[in-house]
Amino acid sequence: MKNRALFGTKFAKVFGRAWLVGGFLFLYLPMVALMVFSFNHSRLASRWGGFSLEWYRKLADDTEIINGLWLSLKIAVTSATGSVILGTMAAFTLVKYKRFRGRTFFSGMVNAPLVMPEVIQGLSLLLMMVAIQRVIGFPERGFFTIWLGHLMIGMSYAAVVVQARLQDLNPQLEEAAMDLGARPWQVFTLVTFPMITQSLISAWLLTFSLSLDDVVSSAFLSGPGATTMPLVIFSRARLGLDPSVNAVATVMIVVVAVCVAAASIWVARAERRRAAEISAAQRDDA
């Protein structure tokens, strides 16, 4: 046992721990720095010049950021919802229907957006929208086109998340429901859906945050008057360091941290309740 792994020795243990700590430092240092410098009095976002809440005060009056945030939230909520619906259908298709014409092609198309550079997806949707607009005068570049771009990427991510869960399901439960006379739609709403709810929520949160954060495809697909928050931040960050960006970042990090914590507590509680219900039901049977 003493010679089991390279890392049984004392030195290796210390080295391993140091590597992990160093790695986490690398991953978290930028986020800490972002937050710290949002309270910086100096305009220079790399040097400390005393504590101040100045940038938060300015943020409250920053209509560009606030309008951008509002637009981003609207796009994120609608595109995440659409992504989860389409992604679930795609996942369901890939898991449940093993044989239909063009299945390989379909699975390729579902997975391709995960590896395709966003620059290409943005450009291709843009060129198509421009071509369509030239013919029928619709759609204007703006909310709709950005939404569509986010939906395309989100759908693939949602499909992957939901697919993983569907594959783990015990098919006997659905078969039992069908044997008891449930219609396919009833099987889905009464049996499948409750079992995959957690993965639907994770897929929604994932696609929501992807959309809220997206720069590249939004930049290609946005039009005049439709500037999402990441686009505002990106254009300011390009010009140089800007403490207002740090203030936005801190607000976002805190909001996301609270939401992720709340969501995971909620999911854990729902799981526990489900487990309790199942065991109660089993007791009743016995």
């Binding site: 290796a12 298709t93 290409i120 198509m128 421009v130 739609w185 590249v216 931040i233 976002m252």
Partner: protein
């Protein structure tokens, strides 16, 4: 009898439902994923200002003929303009270097994570995934502050005179000047994609059968030999998956080079953007994009083949 009646009325609705479940996402993908690609392909063989469906094919005397204008592709050749070749080369080079550093940092990280106390592992995993939930744009922007003159990391590097080493390595040009260099670009991309390397490696390494190491040790292998000849070969699938997840998006990266890179680090994503918006030349942008897709398809095909083989081997 009743049962079969029921089945007869039941089946069509089931099939209609099935068709809808398959059809809706299928149609959607054809319309908004495949069609835009075909349009890009069509643009790429079109002349500026005259883009019609006839550019790619024309019907003459009842036969469909492919008519393509390769001028956009000819312009990609280094004989006409070396910019494109340099940009493709830079994209591949930086993606490769980033993958290398991600592996260098990520492999030991994933290894120690997988060998950490069992009760600690979910927390460690959470900590790796948590940065995903905060904006990637903001995390990249943060490096601007860290690497700018007087920033935390910049002070550390100039304080330890590591910047002189970086000059020797060719990662920066002037000591003390860290931003808008190859160095800042690589550090930003490594930072962004590190979790993509760690997660598949961790998934792979945590599943490894530790008894194999005991067997190696019983057979006289030193821990170091056992690591290189047992652990590393067994984690090959994780290494390949992680490398692909880092390399492929890095080639088309746009945001990080724009924020952290400099004039010397022009990558292909930027070129596509510039052709489309600054030069107002969508056909050229489309041609650049088509070649980029072809460049990405090659490693991807290898990856798919490798995975298929690995799956076969498992059976």
């Amino acid at each position: 009898m009743e049962a079969s009646d029921k089945k007869a009325t039941w089946r069509p609705s089931w099939w209609r439902g099935r068709t809808a479940v398959i059809g809706v996402p299928y149609f959607w993908l054809l319309l908004f994923f495949l069609a835009p690609f075909l349009i890009v392909a069509n643009y790429s063989v079109s002349e500026m200002g005259a883009i019609r469906a006839e550019d790619i094919s024309s019907v003459s005397e009842g036969a469909i003929r492919l008519v393509m204008k390769y001028t956009n592709y000819q312009r990609l050749l280094p004989t006409q303009d070396t910019l494109y070749l340099y940009a493709y080369w830079a994209s591949i080079k930086y993606a490769f270097v980033t993958t290398f550093f991600c592996l260098l940092i990520g492999y030991p990280f994933a290894y120690f994570m997988a060998r950490a106390k069992q009760s600690l592992q979910p927390t460690l995993l959470m900590l790796v995934m948590l940065p995903f939930w905060t904006s990637f744009l903001l995390r990249v922007y943060a490096w601007k502050g860290l690497l700018d003159e007087g920033g935390w990391v910049a002070s550390l590097i100039t304080g330890t005179h590591f910047d002189k080493v970086l000059v020797l390595m060719g990662a920066i040009e002037v000591p003390g000047q860290l931003m808008h260099t190859t160095f800042s670009l690589i550090i930003g991309m490594t930072y962004t994609y590190l979790p993509f390397m760690i997660l598949p490696l961790y998934a792979n390494l945590s599943k490894m059968d530790l008894r194999l190491l005991e067997a190696a040790s019983d057979l006289g292998a030193t821990p170091w030999v056992a690591f290189w000849r047992v652990t590393v070969p067994l984690s090959k699938a994780g290494i390949v998956a992680g490398s692909m997840l880092v390399f492929i998006p890095c080639v088309g990266e746009y945001v990080t080079p724009d924020l952290l890179g400099g004039p010397s680090t022009l990558m292909i994503g930027r070129v596509i953007w510039d052709e489309n918006f600054n030069n107002n030349d969508p056909p050229m942008a489309a041609a650049v994009a088509v070649v980029l897709v072809l460049l990405i398809v090659v490693p991807l095909a290898y990856f798919n083949k490798y995975q298929a083989e690995a799956q076969e081997a498992r059976k």
